[in-house]
Symmetry: C2
Subunit: 84 residues, 2 copies
DNA sequence: AACTATACCGGTATTTCTATTGGGTTAGAC
DNA sequence: GTCTAACCCAATAGAAATACCGGTATAGTT
């Protein structure tokens, strides 16, 4: 096995993260927030809609900083299921 | 250019994150922590040594959960420089 | 001393995904 | 009509994540 495709669960997890970020953006425009976080507007749009399901850590960290939300809150319920 | 290579600063940022994670792992083995976080030992080792400079958000979230540390603390000082 | 086991490292190869640019489209506001 | 914000799609360079290899070092066993 080399690099397994993303599972449906991982896709859903990405969508959920995107919803949280969009909610946190509030009334601000995508372009403004993306510029403040140092990324392209297209990328932010894809993250918010879940089309980028596993974004980079520092990408989300920059967004959380701009949006003024906690990374730990964004990660709630996102821990993969690892059997005991 | 479509996707610029990682800058030296981003490499350093990845190394710093890796050091924090290795420190948090303490005496536990790479294999044990990687299994608990749902990833291969190879991947964790590369993250800790900085060879994976921009790991995925959920990957770091799973690690932080296993290691019992805060994501916000891991992201301290990692926000890219975006001029006002 | 020789053997075994554990743990880490560096390199290579592979597949899948991110993040970007550019162009085109839609809808509402001025 | 013009401007702005958002959406959608295709193409692309580069990187993540996995697995395998040999090598090194240390500690424990026989």
């Amino acid at each position: 096995m080399v690099r397994p495709p993303l599972t449906p669960e991982e896709r859903l997890r990405g969508e959920h993260l995107g919803l949280l970020l969009r909610e946190a953006r509030g009334g601000r425009s995508i372009a403004e927030v993306a510029a403040a976080a140092g990324m392209s507007a297209e990328t932010l749009r894809k993250i918010e809609t879940g089309r980028i399901a596993t974004p980079a850590f520092f990408t989300i960290a920059a967004l959380a900083d701009v949006l003024g939300i906690s990374l730990d809150r964004l990660a709630v319920g996102t821990t993969p299921a690892v059997p005991t």
